[in-house]
Point group: D2
Chain length 135, copies 4
């Protein structure tokens, strides 16, 4: 069992969100943040780095938004639904923009972009699932 | 002249955003992130910390969103308007929620909350100004 | 297979670090960052929050250092050993300080602190293992 | 007066660090983090981006370490000298590595690297001053 779930199960108060969707979304945010950081770095090591500038930029943005969102979702004390909602919307947008760009390069043989696109799509879906649950 | 403006003036390409509003917003995001981090810490040092739990939690969220937003706005290469817009909307929400809570405690004699409320209000306004300019 | 390993296996250049230790350390940094963020939040929900102020503070520091370290380690391009080393040393210190404090409260019945202490100990060990490997 | 100083002046407890050096160091950490984020972005917009890969990588690391250090220093509650010391040491290393690389490119006509080198040098010095004061 992941620490995320263990921490949630030892949380001292009730919380109003579906715990499976919450754990999945927090974990997806951290996984995607890390994949994006690694993808930006891998792009910098490619000979054709000049063609990957947009990918590197979106990777950096997506990592930042995913980390902020994962941290906000991890906080259940004095939960603020508007805060969670706008963070999730920003995260869905970041994962969508970055996922599109990575998928494009993944289809042209950049394997790390293909893996990162998967991480972005998973995170986008986990955010959508949680957003639906809290609306 | 701040580094933010100097860096923008030496940026090698054109960018489509009003530079005064952009510099003001980036600086406000970092200032607010720092004020919120300091306010959470000051709240932890108050005897009545149990009454400041919501403030500490919103401070932490607001700092995270402001930093992510400040970093995204600082990137002008392959600018993605949707990314900027949703980040700004999340930041406006965070500054509004945190600013309301801090203002409340500021009015009851918590001076650090009063200062932090100012930082939140300034950042919220700078984000609104930039959001209007890019829409 | 985690994204961390998949990303590393599709990295386009050679890198000079043991890949098992590197993957373990990156994952441990993100896991610990998240556990600490959740522990700080759980502490804020405890009735005896006033006795958990030190824990909340160290949780926040440890989360920040772990995230910075995880991100630095994820970057293998133009690898800078001194950067990696000092980041790992700061991370070992943060995990040690936070782990001690969490372990103390875990032993007194705060279950979330007990889980967080485990995450801190694992991360500290993963950092030590990697530091030994790169020295 | 900056928010950093106002927040420190309304902090409810005593703290054992020289306040001028503390404020200078926190502000320098945030300024340097932002300059590095902007420099990485400006490098990505240069035609010769392939020659700036090391600079982009060190910019990213330096921004991460500066933010973590700035946040740790902003927390005075239950101050942990070992935490502050190792964070400052990592920050000095990051600013030194990144400052060297930026200075090199600044001397070859990359103006944004020259400005960023200044931000790195200032932050390195502010960290050294504070480290001396707390040792």
């Amino acid at each position: 069992m992941s620490y995320t779930r263990q921490m949630l199960e030892t949380y001292p108060r009730d919380y109003g969100v579906d715990s499976d969707k919450l754990v999945a979304c927090i974990d997806a945010c951290y996984d995607c943040a890390n994949a994006c950081t690694q993808c930006a770095d891998a792009c910098l090591s490619e000979e054709g780095v000049a063609h990957l500038v947009k990918c590197i930029r979106l990777n950096a943005d997506c990592a930042d938004v995913c980390l902020a969102t994962g941290r906000i979702l991890a906080r259940q004390t004095e939960y603020d639904a508007n805060m969670a909602r706008t963070a999730l919307e920003a995260c869905i947008q970041a994962c969508s923009s970055c996922g599109d760009e990575c998928e494009h390069h993944g289809g042209m043989g950049m394997e790390h972009c293909g893996v990162c696109a998967e991480a972005c799509r998973s995170c986008e879906q986990a955010c959508r699932d949680l957003l639906t649950a809290i609306n």
